[in-house]
Every structure is written in structure tokens, then in C-alpha cells.
Amino acid sequence: MIMWLPKGSGGAKHSVSSPARAGLIVGLVLSTAAMTPRGASSAPVAPLPDRADAAAAAPARDGRYTLSLKHKAAIPAFARKYSLACSACHTTWPELNNFGQVFKDNGYQLMNEKDSPIQQSNSYWPIAVRTTPQWHMETTTNQPIDNVAGDPLAGQHAGTVTQQGFDLSGIDFLMMGTLYKNISFQLVTTLDPDGSAGIEAANVRFDNISNNSWFNVKMGKFELDNLISEKRGEFLSNNGGMYQNYHYQPVSSTVAFGLGDNQLGLELMGHNKNSYTRYTLALLSTTDGTPGFPAGTGKGMDVMFTLSQAWAVQSLGLMRVGVFGVLGKSSTASPTSGGEPIPGMANGDKSFTRFGVNANLTFGDFEVLPYYMIASNDKALTDGTPTQNAKWNSAVVEAHYVVNPRLMFMGKWQSVKMTDQYDPGTPSTQGNIDGLALGLRSYFFMFSRDGLALHVEYAYTNSVGIFPLSEDGLGDPGTSLPNPPLTEATTVKSSSLLIALDFAF
């Protein structure tokens, strides 16, 4: 469920500070910031510091290499509760099929009068765990290498970094279910390989309010209702597992928001009986899911809506098409105390937008998931020269061939293209990303109690003038950020090869 951050990254959500560093918005970040002192509303206003400074102030990583391992959701606890195989709810887990979508939309209820905990055995506990022992190799080109080992002052040259070996993902502890009939909850805690823990999701949902499936409300921290869910995606490798445009920010952006990041807020959701028609309207704090009123955020709210409609083409399968939009706010100033921004008191909000269309199209055993998004950040949301709004487009086409519930081949192409840089002087292609991933998942077994899959995947990305969003490559201990290439126009090619045993119990 989580994009594992480098060790000791501390939780500051950072965007990039130099024109050569773009695109770093990675997964869920947990704040360790102190709470804001109260009653300081009349403090003088100062420009916000670069959020990368906050990252730099975080505990330094204890390793130079930044392998970001991610994980997704599959909930055998539900399978155990209802004695249904994983394949009932998942195309191949973790991706939901429509039956699973309806189950989720109903608040993790089958609506068979056995949903409430009081109907379950006392021994039932709604918890599942998932982790992925693995071997993987990460190769990243055009990384700055010291000419003389141990002497950074002796100059650097561009080189290829290759890292490989046996490794672990983190562990997800997935607790979801019903507190009562039509009151459900979600609690996802995570344990990183280095032992640090986090809360990825924690929310309570009131389902079918007034016996109306069009009216469900949840509050807390939750995944946005992306039609193509990254949390339930099938790809796991560093480069392939990430939807680049869910986390992308252009060069010098100070916006933290990521569509793929779980957010704090309130969501109104509705659906018809078979969830062919679905909508959500979410009101979100501008913290990008970081709890504790972090510095650089204020009272502003992001708004996201999604709407999708599915049609059953009986000879082919279900065709779902959706639209979505985000009207976001990001602060540009903050009152200070002792010269430091007062956490949670930022102001001078400027807007950013994300609009797109997406789909999940089924053609028999083939499934195609296209996605297109246009994005814009206000020109003030940069730590560079605020000349013009930054704009970019992105697209994804993902395809699955589901041979049977226990074997799936998959591929994903994705691209992010800048159309307007904040600074017209910035190379027009800087920040562009192209990626391709191929893989298969073969399940040794898939019971109603657990499942184990062999996962093989190869993926690569080309990123112009920036380090890969997966943070492969060479870490920079001075800034706690991976390094961009030595020149802005250089393309960094980053590839991942992953062989893993993915299990959930």
C-alpha cells in the first residue's frame, strides 16, 4: 500500500528545489513535525521556505541508495470472513473486479445480513498482512560519480549505477471491515524494512445513509477514488509500480499534492446497486495526507471529484469510463515565530488543477486501462522565478491478459510531457518521462484464506534532466535527495528487474 521512502526521510513532503531536480513526490509520507503553537495569527508573514529545506532538516538517510519499494492492497481477511476466494473480488489480486468494487462501495459488506461483527465468530479478527520477499536489480544511467572515490572535490563524471540483490518490501497490516451494520472502517499500518512504522489509511465510513447507496460519507485518511488505483495496481517494481503522473511535479514546483498519495479529508460517495454508476466528492486538507498540520500548509482545502459510468457489453465485458478533477490549493506564505513558519498557518493560497479521463475496458480476457490527464500549477507555486503557469499532460495505457484467476500477463506504457515550464528558460523537455513495464503474476494457490504469487516484472523509465520518480540511482547525502543528471538535457534511463514472492494472509 505504500511507496516506501528512503530510510530516515523523516516524513517531510518535499518538492524539488533546483531546476535540475523535479518530479519528486513519492507516496505516503508521515509527518514528524511538531504541532503548531496556538494563537499566533497576527505574526508577520514571510515567504514559505523551500520544502526541500524541510527534507534536508530531516534525519539523514543511513544509506546512499534509495530503492523505493511499494506495496498494494489485498485483503484475505474478507475472504476468510465470507469464505470467498480472492478471485471473487479481484481480477487477480490486488486489482478489484466489479463484484469487489460493489463490496467495497457497500462499505465492505455483502449485504447478506452477515456483515456486522456481531454476526461473526468471536475469533474473527479483520486483519491481513502482505509482504513481498524479492530479488531485484535497479540500473540508472547518467548518475554523478566521483572521479576519485571518496573525494567529491576531485570532480564528477556521469556513470551508471547498478544495484541488485535480495531485498524486502515493507509489511502492510490491513485492517478493514464493519464496526456495525453500515458503519465500516479502514486501518492500514505499515512497517518499513528498516523498522519504521506508519499509518497509511485510517478512516470511518457511514454507509448507505438513510438506506440510500448514493449517500456514503467517510472521514480520515484514505486513498482517492482513482478509477485506476495505484494501491491496487498489479505492478510492483520500482519503476513499473508507480503511476508517474500520480506523483509528478514539474521542475521547481512547491506543490506537494499527489493523486496517488492517500489524503486526509472527508469524502462523499455514491453508487447504484451494481456500482455501474459511481461518484465521489472529496474535501481534502492541503497536507497531501501528512497529519499534524505540517509547516507550509494552511486552512485551504483541495476538492476532488470523480464520476464514472460502466456499461455491460455482454459479448465482451464491462466497459467503465470516468472523469475526474482536482481543484487544489497550495500556500505561498506563512506567519512565522522566531523566523520559522508556524505549522498549519500558511496562507497566500494559489491554485493547481488536475483534470482527466480514464477507463477500464474489458474485452473477454483482455483488460485495457487508459488514462489521460492535463495538469496546471499556478505560476506562484515555484521556488524559482514565477513567470508563467506550469502545464503538462500525461497518459497511461495499461493492459492485462487474464489467462485465469491464477495467471496474468501485464504491460503498462506511460508518459508525462511538459507543455509550459514555470520558467520559459528551462529546457522544454526537462521533466519529461516515458516508461514501459512488462510482467506476469502466477499464483501458486489462491484460497479463501491466503494467496501466494510469483511476480516477475521488468520496467524502465526515461526521464529528462531529472532523477527517476522511483528514486533509483545515486542518493545525495547532503540533501537527502537522489541526484539529477549532470546536465539538464540529459536523459536518465532507469530500469528495474524484479522477481518476487508476493503473499497475503
Partner: protein
């Protein structure tokens, strides 16, 4: 799958394909109903009531007379509706074609489908008006037909015979508790409840009363049974109106007071 028993199913304009249905069966059904359709899937030991054994081709929820095969529509409706208070969910979220394909495949598990045709669906006549008289007459029938012996005097499923009941596979089975909700395995609407009296619930001790109840009697019984359930429909309102104006009824053989 016994390919020699290749089957199709027809529901509305859709035709089910057993080969396609097998794929869906393995995805959605096999865990409970088993590879051979005999109700012995890996989850079966943990499930009460037990999953249906398709090899016997005996189905509870039908529109056809007792002892006959159900129609494709009956099986389709059962798959779509699910069975409340059991582990069988509603598969309504699946596409119509998927459900029809599943019906076609389910029919491959028993040779009965090759040798017999489904029974002729029982006609459900228009519902009679809900009146005090119909509710009271239904109450009399509840006693006279000895429904209370299994379902209990107040319909709580706790009649004197309740603990002795078994299904056709000798598994213990509990009679329906009317106070538990408005849905039963085979019915949600009044017409479906009516139909149960006439078809019986095959494989269980619940017989068909088609030879014992006139249509008017059956509707009266429906009206009374609704008063035993929690929702406050027109039947319950009529019942309570009568209770307000009449002496308390004897509770010996019925009465949901």
C-alpha cells in the same frame, strides 16, 4: 465438468454458454460448491448452511412444482439474489451474460438436465386485498396447517419440531425465523412468499401446499406472515389495528403480538 453434458441456458434474450460459465464458476463458485459441483468446496466445512450440491439437481428456490427441475430463470434469479443469512452472496454485480453462463455450467453437473425438462412454473394470481379478515384467516391457517410446529407460535423458527429437522443430506436445518427480517432465501416480495407455499422448498422439510391451499388461502397466509416480520407494512398496520380493537389472541398456535 462433464463435457458430455454440455448445456446452455436461456434467460430473456441471453443464451448461456457452459464452457464460458466454467471459467466464471472457477473464479466465483468453486470455493464453496467444489470442482465437481457437489457442494464440497474447500470452504464447505466452515459454512452453515452447506453449499448446494448441484449433482443432485435439487433446488430450494423455484417457480416450478415440487420435485421438478427449476427453470433457467429460477437459477438466474437465485444467483442474482443470493441467499440471505447464508454465505451465498448476491452476484448481481456480475454482468447478466456472466450469470447466464454460470447457470448453463451449473446444469452440467447433473444428468437430470438431460433427461428431464423444467417443471411448468406455478402461476401466481393477483394478490387479494389486505384486510383484517385476510390476516385473521391467515392466522387460522398458520395454526391449522401446523406451520407453528416448525416455525414456532410467533414465527421465530423455534417450534417444537425445529430442533429435529434435517435437509435431504441429513444436515441439520433450521426453519425460517420470520422475525429476523423481511427477506428469506427464496423471497423478498409477497408474490415470492406466496410461491414458496405452492412449490415447497425442495431438499428441506418445507413441503408444497399446492394441494392444501387455495390461492385465496395462500394470500391470506402471506398477509399474516408479514405481521410476524419487523417491517411495518400494510399487513402489520392492519394487524395492529385489529389488535387495538380486539381481545388479545391466544398465543398457543400463532399470533405475533
Amino acid at each position: 465438468m462433464n463435457t458430455a453434458r454440455a448445456q446452455t441456458a436461456s434467460v430473456g434474450k441471453l443464451t448461456g454458454n457452459a464452457a464460458q460459465g466454467k471459467k466464471y464458476y472457477q473464479r466465483f463458485c468453486v470455493g464453496c460448491h467444489g470442482v465437481d459441483g457437489d457442494g464440497s468446496g474447500e470452504n464447505a466445512p466452515w459454512i452453515e448452511p452447506k453449499p448446494r450440491d448441484f449433482t443432485a439437481a435439487v433446488f430450494k428456490c423455484r417457480s416450478t412444482p415440487t420435485g421438478t427441475l427449476p427453470t433457467d430463470q429460477d437459477l438466474y434469479d437465485a444467483v442474482s439474489r443470493g441467499f440471505v443469512n447464508t454465505n451465498m452472496p448476491s452476484w448481481f454485480p456480475l454482468m447478466e451474460q456472466t450469470r447466464v453462463d454460470l447457470v448453463a455450467y451449473i446444469k452440467t453437473f447433473s444428468p437430470r438436465w438431460e433427461k428431464e425438462k423444467p417443471g411448468t412454473p406455478i402461476v401466481v394470481p393477483p394478490e387479494t386485498p389486505v384486510t383484517k379478515a385476510s390476516v385473521l384467516h391467515g392466522r387460522e391457517l398458520f395454526s391449522k396447517m401446523e406451520c407453528w410446529k416448525c416455525h414456532g407460535p410467533a414465527g421465530h423458527g423455534d417450534g417444537p419440531s425445529a430442533s429435529t429437522l434435517t435437509d435431504s443430506k441429513d444436515n441439520p436445518i433450521r426453519p425460517y425465523n420470520f422475525s429476523a427480517g423481511m427477506r428469506s432465501k427464496c423471497s423478498t416480495t409477497n408474490a415470492e412468499l406466496y410461491r414458496i407455499f405452492m412449490t415447497g422448498v425442495d431438499g428441506t422439510p418445507m413441503p408444497s401446499f399446492v394441494d392444501n391451499l387455495t390461492p385465496a388461502d395462500a394470500w391470506d397466509l402471506v398477509h399474516y406472515l408479514r405481521t410476524l416480520q419487523p417491517a411495518q407494512g400494510v399487513e402489520a398496520a392492519t394487524w395492529h389495528e385489529w389488535l387495538q380493537s380486539a381481545p388479545a389472541p391466544s398465543m398457543g398456535t400463532g399470533g405475533g403480538r
